[in-house]
């Protein structure tokens, strides 16, 4: 597992979200922008995001943490991943 810093994690997640959910790779997703509350992704997609995080960063986010309140902005998602990075 190559050592990843916060910046690369953020970019990988941003790219994944804009490509897979918003389906517009060059959408300017801001760090604090509400993705679910902004109507760009629905809460069903959180499961897909969690699996992506498992594969990309080997971080398991328990289901009760996959809520709109905790995973609505890029900052929240990145912080959560960083917290459990080995």
């Amino acid at each position: 597992m190559i050592e990843m810093d916060e910046k690369t994690i953020r970019e990988k997640i941003r790219a994944y979200i804009t490509a897979d959910f918003i389906r517009d790779p060059d959408y300017p997703l801001a760090d604090e922008e509400g993705i679910i509350t902004g109507g760009m992704m629905d809460s069903f997609a959180l499961a897909e995001l969690a699996v992506f995080v498992e594969n990309a960063f080997n971080v398991y986010i328990p289901d009760p943490d996959l809520t709109v309140a905790k995973m609505d902005t890029l900052n929240q998602i990145v912080a959560r991943v960083m917290r459990d990075m080995k």
Partner: protein, 491 residues
């Protein structure tokens, strides 16, 4: 017994005393003991001898067993982190239960704390101790670190098994018949409602599964036996929820010692919620109950207009009764310093079925999302040859809604009710996926948006109301005859 006015008055007065007079250090123990007493006092009387004393005791011992099983195993050797305070809690537990059994000798009108005359304390004391010790040995010694995950899954399966037996008509009748034979009663009168009405079991089962699953996924915080038990059987939410989460509940518990007892706002908000809840439940819901759909009046109805009124009355009665009860539970919880989560957020005014399920019985839909929908969809997403995401969401929705349906009772009508909502949710998901971009533009046009919103509310509300036909009636042909009558056919 459910919440009647005397019980609410007792809890409210208790809440005021607890807040204004009780020393702060007593608070956690008070909640623990009050909840322990409530498990016995709120248990409805049952026809099988001593059953209404045994069932609450089983609830408590299952909770103790789950606490022991979910203790963190520090390393391979069988050391577990049982501290002195937990043993002290167990001692209090056994003393309290035996003390309750002692009330057997009081004149019957004094036996207010138990559903009916408790069994002989001597046997209780003899029976109680071995069981308690057995649990500690079985629970503790057997489950060591590597096997904990497997053991917890096994316990979850047992709980689900018991749930299925209790909630399936034929099994439940068989069980109550067998129990009647053991206690020398007439087995032909076996009736689960009068024999096996286990107070709050459906809610306790879900809290237990939540705790077991969270230990498996490493999310369960360290919790003492006393706090775990208080969480599982917290008296305001014992009979019908809300289903709180243990880490949230623990935050409130740990904040109790320095909570300002004389803070007016907590008491004003708590009392207001209770008063509003009483009005919703005892005035609105009980009035609607006089003409809300039931198996008897469904067959008697002679015109479509009348049928629709009965159905609407049922829909609103269900809401006002349950949300009124929840307001009371939350209000009482507040008086005791515990902020129970909300269960309703104007569900009938939501403009989509997905939004409805985020506003109706919220704690239950959260529970099924965390412990059924999310894990199920994630496992499917991890498969090498995983099906399309629409199929995955579809399977996830069907599984989730069927389980919510069968949680109310394992019967065909509840199953169909679950499928009805699963279909609605699925169609809405497909629709919103394909119209997300269009909708984000459309949102800017205010006038049309309001109209669109009202149309959404109208459709969603009636979709839910039509669903209540399956939910309210126990057999399919009555359901079909009612659906016909609603359309003006079949009189």
């Amino acid at each position: 017994m459910t919440f009647n006015l005397t019980l609410i008055a007792i809890f409210t007065v208790g809440g005021f005393i607890y807040s204004l007079i009780l020393p702060k250090s007593w608070r956690k123990w008070t909640l623990f003991i009050a909840s322990l007493l409530a498990v016995y006092a709120l248990q409805p009387p049952l026809l099988i001898r001593d059953m209404d004393f045994i069932l609450p005791t089983i609830t408590i011992f299952v909770a103790v067993f789950v606490w022991i099983a979910t203790l963190p195993r520090t390393d391979n050797r069988l050391r577990m982190t049982i501290q002195w305070r937990d043993l002290f809690t167990m001692a209090i537990l056994i003393l309290l239960i035996t003390g309750l059994a002692m009330t057997r000798h009081l004149p019957s009108e004094w036996q207010l704390l138990t559903a009916s005359r408790p069994p002989d304390p001597f046997t209780i004391f003899l029976a109680l101790l071995p069981i308690a010790l057995l649990i500690i040995l079985l629970g503790g010694a057997q489950i060591n670190q590597p096997r904990q995950r497997l053991a917890l899954s096994f316990i979850i399966l047992i709980i689900i098994g018991v749930f299925i037996i209790l909630k399936t008509e034929s099994f439940a009748i068989g069980l109550s018949g067998w129990l009647r034979e053991q206690t020398g009663r007439d087995a032909s009168l076996a009736n689960p409602l009068t024999d096996l009405n286990w107070l709050g079991f459906s809610y306790v089962a879900f809290r237990l599964i939540h705790v077991l699953r969270d230990r498996q996924t490493g999310k369960l915080p360290d919790v003492s036996l006393r706090d775990m038990l208080t969480y599982i059987i917290f008296f305001p939410s014992l009979t019908a929820g809300p289903i709180d989460r243990i880490e949230r509940f623990q935050e409130d518990l740990s904040a109790l010692p320095d909570m300002n007892g004389r803070d007016p706002s907590r008491i004003v908000v708590g009392s207001t919620r209770i008063v509003i809840g009483i009005f919703k439940k005892f005035v609105i819901a009980d009035s609607l109950a006089l003409f809300s759909l039931s198996i008897t009046n469904a067959e008697q109805a002679t015109n479509a207009g009348g049928m629709w009124i009965l159905l609407y009355a049922y829909a609103f009665r269900l809401f006002f009764d349950f949300s009124g009860y929840t307001d009371i539970a939350i209000g009482i919880g507040m008086l005791f310093g515990v902020q129970l989560p909300e269960n309703f957020n104007r569900p009938y005014l939501k403009n989509s079925i997905t939004a409805f399920w985020q506003a109706w019985h919220i704690t239950l839909s959260n529970w099924v999302r965390f412990y059924i929908f999310s894990p199920l969809t994630r496992t499917m997403l991890r498969w090498k040859r995983k099906p399309s995401s629409d199929v995955i969401v579809g399977i996830g929705l069907v599984a989730t809604m069927v389980i919510i349906g069968l949680w109310h009772g394992i019967s065909l009508t509840f199953l169909v009710w679950g499928l009805w909502h699963a279909t609605g949710l699925f169609i809405h998901k497909m629709w919103s996926d394909r119209t997300r971009k269009w909708y984000n533009q459309f949102k800017k046009k205010q006038g049309q948006l309001r109209l669109w919103n009202w149309a959404g509310i109208f459709i969603t509300f009636h979709f839910v109301v039509m669903g209540w036909v399956w939910f309210a009636l126990p057999d399919l042909n009555t359901v079909f005859s009612v659906l016909g009558k609603l359309a003006g056919v079949g009189f």
